[in-house]
């Protein structure tokens, strides 16, 4: 396995407020990794840093050997990192299909993901392709958000709290599709508050607490007690 993404000693700031302290993080080719932690642990900040919404030291983040820590979001997506933002954040003025198409705006890569393959993965979206995204159910909106990110043909898909506000059965569906996406060769990083859900579908996990990695490992050999103390700091 080759390392696709590596983060080393990442400190992230919002103005004077430091949200992340010396994060080290790795993603191998074709891997699904979970980032878990309580509210305010810095999970979303980590994803935002990766996606270029929070700018950092140039050499703090490497994607396939290239230093991207200080790149803009618009550039990062061209290099192959696509974020499914928390709360879905679809464009209400655009139809379902237009939301998907705008995902391909920055990409020169056209395979494997394009409109037909996204519709094959999420058939319900094809039926509703000309609808406004505002009339879709939460689960369908989440599918649009994932499809939109896939349209840029990322090498890594970043998913921020994709189960938030969805019915458990819909969450299961979404995770099944994520694994399908991973099996097609796309690396996946999911940020979740639902620890059990995240650990069931990922190869490795990192636990954050107050901006630091407190535990890392594979779900198989993670011990509940260790996770609990890494999560809550107790």
């Amino acid at each position: 396995m080759t390392t696709l993404l590596s983060v080393s000693a990442l400190d992230a700031f919002y103005g004077d407020f430091q949200a992340l302290f010396g994060i080290d993080f790795k993603l191998e080719q074709g891997e699904a990794v979970a980032v878990i932690g309580a509210n305010g642990a810095g999970k979303s900040t980590l994803l935002k840093s990766l996606a270029g919404l929070v700018r950092n030291r140039r050499d703090a983040i490497r994607l396939a050997g290239q230093e991207i820590g200080d790149s803009t979001a618009a550039k990062v997506v061209r290099l192959g990192l696509a974020l499914v933002p928390e709360g879905r954040q679809l464009f209400p003025s655009l139809t379902v299909e237009e939301n998907l198409l705008i995902g391909a705006y920055g990409g020169d890569r056209t395979s494997p993901w394009d409109l037909p393959s996204v519709y094959r993965t999420f058939p319900v979206l094809q039926e509703r392709r000309h609808s406004s995204v505002t009339v879709l159910s939460g689960g369908q909106q989440q599918m649009v958000a994932i499809g939109r990110a896939l349209m840029s043909n990322p090498s890594i898909l970043l998913c921020d709290e994709i189960s938030l506000g969805l019915a458990p059965i819909v969450v299961e569906d979404i995770y099944r599709m994520l694994l399908h996406i991973r099996d097609n060769g796309t690396g996946i990083i999911v940020v979740e508050q639902d620890i059990a859900r995240a650990l069931r579908s990922t190869d490795r996990f990192y636990c954050l607490q107050e901006g630091r990695v407190t535990l890392a490992g594979t779900p198989a050999d993670a011990d509940q007690q260790a996770i609990r103390s890494a999560y809550f700091g107790m």
Binding site: A73, V77, A82, L94, I102, G106, G107
Partner: protein
Amino acid sequence: MSGFDTVIEGVLLGGVYALFALGLSLIFGIMRLVNLAHGDLILLAAYLVLSVTTTLGVPLIASTLLIVVVMFAAGYALQRLVLERVLGDDILPPLLVTFGLSIVIQNGLLLAYGADSRRLQAGAFESSSIALAPGLSIGLAPLTALIAAIVAVALMQLIFYRTTLGRAFRATADNPQIAQLMGIDERSVYAIAVGISLAVSVIAAITFGIRANFDPSIGPARLLFAFEAVIIGGLGSLWGTLAGGIVLGLAQAIGARIDPEWQILAGHITFLAVLMLRPRGLFPSRRP
């Protein structure tokens, strides 16, 4: 026929107002930027066309095309070099900057061209007309203005709803930060929007400059008409802006028919009435 010709006159005048308003509506819709220098930029375009036609002797059509390109570039540069620095959550700085720009342009024009009023020369085109019925004819120039307004709105609708650039415009208007995640460089999207806005104002400048005299001080009044057209039509809707221009034109024509002193006032009263009865305009965009 006297009622009917007033209506025609109003509708035709509305075409000119719609052209004034279109560029304003476009950049407000995409960037939430109110460009207080819009009227003066239209005047600047009119003077540039005047210079190119009279000094260099270039035919009107060719100089229009030339100045469209020049104004697009000017708009692009204006956004990248000036407006971009003040755009943010606070709406006051961009307002102040465009207000300042308005004064700079007015005084610049005064310095360069003097205070005399001018007019664009379009030869026989200015005074030719089409007879619709005995005693009722339409001036070719105002008719062309209305058609130009309709074509301009249709073209912009096409760009907005049928092209990749249009999707980027709408996505950026919805949420600039998330648009960046799609690989959209918001700075270049905004700059293109301002460029298109100024390119459209050249068309407004031509139709207006053939129809009436202009001097460096009249920009703010054109801005006011443009604002009224945008508000009457409903913010964020391009066809609404065309309708708003026509409503304003009609109100002024009818007012003028009652008493020439009432022309401008009737327009303002109609504007206020629309604000009171339909605060979001006649055709507001669906977006909240």
